[in-house]
């Protein structure tokens, strides 16, 4: 069992010939590491398939580098520089904020200008469930501990003071619970207000550290942050003198006291496009602006949220909170190991920088699109890099009790899965929970993404995402098709103009996470004569947004319904990065059926099935699709993905949801198990009979529709479809049908209308 080895990442997923990519490498055993560039063809090592295939790219990326052990800072927090020590509290200090702690049993810094290794400065922290305010000069520490512990998920107003003249430090907490803002409501007879003071034995030292929100500086030189906070902080303010009792009482009552030397309003800068920035504004006017690190959750309900407005852009004054998590990660921030110049003549495709240190191997994938502004083929495969991000480092089966219930199988895990379980530095996916139970909303490319390795078999029990998409890449290569590889990131940036260079665009196994820009691009392309092949399922499902300042980061907010791992809390369904409402596109009036003719209907993650031909399959106008396929053949009752072409997640035609009226239903799958389930958004009253055994909506549909200006869409509607392409030496009816359609779509001239 190997739980730690050489690992790497690159700065972005997509690159063009003539551009460059930066790579970052870390190893537990510092030393030489060989590098080379490989082109990835097929990753699945299933012995029933064609096996692993990669090709060396001679003369590119080959060399050796000295790999070191690199540090990763975890945890969302805010850094405020204070080189002059204006906030050091040596002349006195009053700190006021609201907090909502989710894990008060852990030692955590809340707001501090403190060096933890040397006990210098001042810090408001939580220890053993109690607030504590401490002041130290390196030799001695004055501490005042609140006599009453914090109730988790309850809002408190907190005031901490340093009074040099009185040689005293003090701490007070007042519950500011209302009907909606805390775990429980007003009927609870809560006595959790408290106040305490202690003798100040020495003035606070002035360590060379910044002021931090949601952590403690480890010490002055490393820049590392420890004791990271879990929970919300709202509106911290600081005065450089001790306020009197009346002013402190006013603060606890929600009043304003003038003269703050710093006031961090985490909602300042909110526009109708959200608050897609790491900038934190000091609204006192004294210039102590800060920066978020590791993407704390923004657009969060604050201490004074009253539940009437649910969109933070309309009511920023009630959304002044940051929700910080000790295990957030937006960028590993390793030192760069090398820059890889992409040759001007490198063909478009899927590549990886291969790292080899002794017996250890890591492959860092990236995707080369054709030269900017051009296409080098008539076919494009859109690699779903937004979806890869959403699943990046998912560790559901390691952590979720019901994971196996969803999958319907007893879990098999390999070394990658176990490494994820013991390595928090790799970060989490949007399928995971932070340690305080909040669903993960942000995901970054800039970290080792272990389940993005080409030969990984997913914890879910089948190949998934990139390794599954390589089933298609391999098939296209073996069949001799010339194709370009483009990515979600390219599509999001360039829109329909990118797609219009191609006669046919293929969406592979699972393009689940989509931005509005990407939906627009597909829709415009397909409405103007473009041809689309949707060879996957549960695509175009989740509202996904890209961070405007950090394009390597995307955001999701799992909504009130959907096939989902978590659910955003009330008032927090809108994306911080764009201001739009999160959830599924179906609930934003853009179900996938409107663009791709089919949309998510069910998952069946244990066993895959074949498709049975339906009357439209005998329509003479569609005979070309079935060329070489007998009328009595079951389509795809075989395959590398759980034994069939219809499975994992499946889509259906639904005319009420926007499937075009002239869409032909060629075949539907049958034979799904009792563990296959109808999606939640199709369940109103709960009722028995929603499984693959007994519900007709649990199926995948093969659909075909002709569109405006000579275009068309072919939908296979299954994540398992591409896993059947190579069966029996690529001689099978899934391969044949896919080839029939692709060759027709790639031809010049309009397609015959079918209406």
């Amino acid at each position: 069992m190997r739980l730690a080895q050489i690992r790497g990442y690159c700065d972005r997923p997509n690159v063009r010939p003539g551009e460059a990519l930066d790579f970052f490498v870390s190893t537990p055993r510092p030393g030489p590491c060989r590098t080379r560039l490989v082109r990835l063809i097929h990753g699945d090592r299933n012995p029933d398939g064609p096996g692993y295939k990669e090709e060396d790219v001679a003369g590119v990326g080959s060399g050796e580098l000295l790999a070191t052990t690199q540090f990763t800072q975890l945890g969302g927090h805010v850094v405020v520089a204070d080189p002059a020590g204006a906030l050091d509290g040596r002349d006195g200090l009053t700190l006021h904020l609201h907090l909502w702690s989710t894990l008060p049993a852990k030692r955590q810094g809340v707001v501090a200008r403190w060096s933890d290794a040397t006990d210098e400065g001042w810090a408001l922290a939580i220890e053993d469930g109690h607030l504590v305010f401490m002041v130290g000069d390196g030799a001695q520490v004055s501490r005042v501990v609140s006599p009453k512990p914090l109730f988790p998920d309850v809002w408190y107003s907190v005031v901490a003071r340093i009074d040099r003249a009185a040689c005293q430090i003090s701490l007070s907490q007042v519950v500011t619970l209302n009907s909606v803002n805390s775990r429980f409501g007003r009927i609870v007879d809560l006595d959790a207000d408290a106040a305490a003071d202690a003798t100040l034995t020495a003035a606070p030292a002035r360590p060379d550290v910044p002021l931090l929100v949601a952590g403690l500086a480890q010490e002055a030189t490393s820049g590392r942050v420890v004791a990271l906070y879990n929970g919300k902080v709202d509106g911290p303010r600081l005065w450089t003198q001790p306020l009197d009792a009346a002013d402190c009482a006013s603060l606890h009552a929600g009043g304003a006291v003038p003269g703050a030397h710093a006031h961090w309003d985490f909602a300042a800068g909110t526009t109708r496009d959200g608050i897609g920035t790491d900038a934190v504004r000091d609204v006192s006017g004294h210039g102590f602006d800060g920066r978020c690190v590791n993407q704390p959750d923004r657009g969060m309900t604050g201490w004074n949220w009253d539940g009437r407005e649910e969109h933070f852009v309309h009511c920023p004054e009630q959304y002044g909170a940051l929700w910080c998590h000790e295990d957030s990660l937006d960028d590993s921030r390793w030192q760069k190991a090398l820059t890889l110049a992409i040759p001007a003549d490198l063909p478009s495709g899927c590549y990886a920088l291969k790292l080899e240190q002794g017996a250890e191997v890591d492959r860092v994938p990236f995707f080369v699109a054709p030269p900017r502004g051009t296409a080098t083929a008539r076919i494009a495969v859109v690699i779903p890099t937004f979806s890869y991000l959403a699943y990046a480092n998912s560790q559901v089966l390691q952590n979720a009790a019901t994971g196996q219930c969803v999958m319907g199988v007893l879990t098999t895990l390999d070394d990658l899965d176990l490494e994820l379980n013991v390595t928090p530095q790799h970060g989490l996916s949007t399928y995971d929970y932070h340690s305080d139970g909040r669903g993960v909303a942000y995901t970054s490319w800039r970290r080792p993404i272990l389940n993005l390795r080409p030969d990984y078999r997913h914890e879910f029990g089948a190949v998934w995402q990139f390794p599954a998409d390589l089933h298609l890449i391999d098939w296209l290569t073996v069949k001799g098709f010339t194709f370009d590889v483009i990515t979600d990131h390219d599509l999001h940036a360039e829109g329909a103009a990118l797609l219009r260079r191609y006669a046919v665009v293929i969406s592979p196994s699972h393009a689940e996470y989509t931005s509005s820009q990407m939906l627009d691009a597909y829709e415009q392309y397909l409405a103007s004569g473009g041809r689309g092949m949707y060879l996957g399922a549960n695509g175009f499902y989740w509202v996904t947004s890209q961070h405007p300042e950090k394009p390597w980061l995307v955001e999701v907010r799992k909504g009130e319904s959907g096939d989902q791992a978590w659910r955003a809390r009330p008032g927090e369904l809108h994306h911080s990065t764009t201001g739009e409402r999160g959830g599924i596109w179906r609930h934003r009036a853009r179900p996938p059926q409107k663009i791709w003719s089919t949309g998510y209907t069910a998952h069946g993650l244990d066993v895959s099935a074949g498709y049975y031909q339906l009357p439209d399959a005998r329509d003479a106008r569609l005979a070309w699709i079935f060329d070489g396929i007998g009328a009595d053949e079951v389509i795809g009752d075989f395959g590398l993905v759980n034994g069939g072409a219809s499975g994992l997640e499946m889509d259906r035609i639904d005319y009420a949801l926007g499937t075009p009226p002239n869409t032909m239903l060629l075949a539907s799958s049958h034979g799904h198990t009792a563990s296959a389930m109808l999606v939640p958004e199709d369940q109103y009253f709960a009722y028995p009979g929603i499984t693959g055994r007994d519900n007709p909506l649990v199926r995948a549909d093969i659909g075909y529709v002709t569109t405006r200006h000579g275009g068309a869409v072919f939908a296979a509607s299954s994540m398992a479809w591409c896993g059947s392409l190579s069966w029996n030496g690529y001689a099978n009816n899934v391969s044949r049908m896919t080839e029939n359609v692709l060759r027709r779509f790639a031809q010049d001239g309009p397609l015959d209308e079918v209406v």
């Binding site: 952590n399 009790a401 196996q404 319907g408 007893l410 340690s435 066993v607």
Partner: protein
């Protein structure tokens, strides 16, 4: 009397969960016959022949347990060499209760099933069922 300390209170639903689990065990244990165990052994996923309702009921129950202490099939060499593993909480290394090696995922998953039956007290001795 006001509530002052969250540590003075515990989640009482744990009482119900213990009651429910006991009742569920009483209902499911009689279903775990040698024939049911063989049914799983021959086809853990039910891909060739759909699982019967009894096996499905038992699997629904054994799938749903906390992950700390939960058995899994460890693919030491995917597609070639497997062992029985026990998962622990995030941040903790898994453990391996024995030295058995399985050459197929199917065998390993069945071993997980037997371990799960034993851990959840649906059998008195997993070996007797094997």
């Amino acid at each position: 009397m006001p509530l002052r300390n969250p540590n003075d209170y515990r989640d009482k639903t744990a009482d119900w969960l213990a009651f429910f689990a006991n009742r569920r065990r009483q209902a499911l244990a009689p279903l775990v016959t040698p024939a049911l165990v063989r049914e799983h052994e021959e086809d853990p996923r039910g891909g060739d022949t759909p699982h019967g309702f009894a096996l499905q009921d038992v699997l629904n129950y054994v799938h749903n347990m906390p992950t700390d202490g939960k058995s899994f099939a460890y693919a030491e060499v995917p597609y070639r060499r497997y062992r029985l593993g026990i998962m622990h909480a995030r941040g903790h290394t898994p453990t391996f209760p024995d030295d058995r090696v399985f050459t197929s995922e199917r065998e390993a998953v069945h071993a997980v099933f037997l371990e799960r039956l034993c851990t959840l007290h649906l059998t008195t001795d997993a070996e007797d069922q094997g």
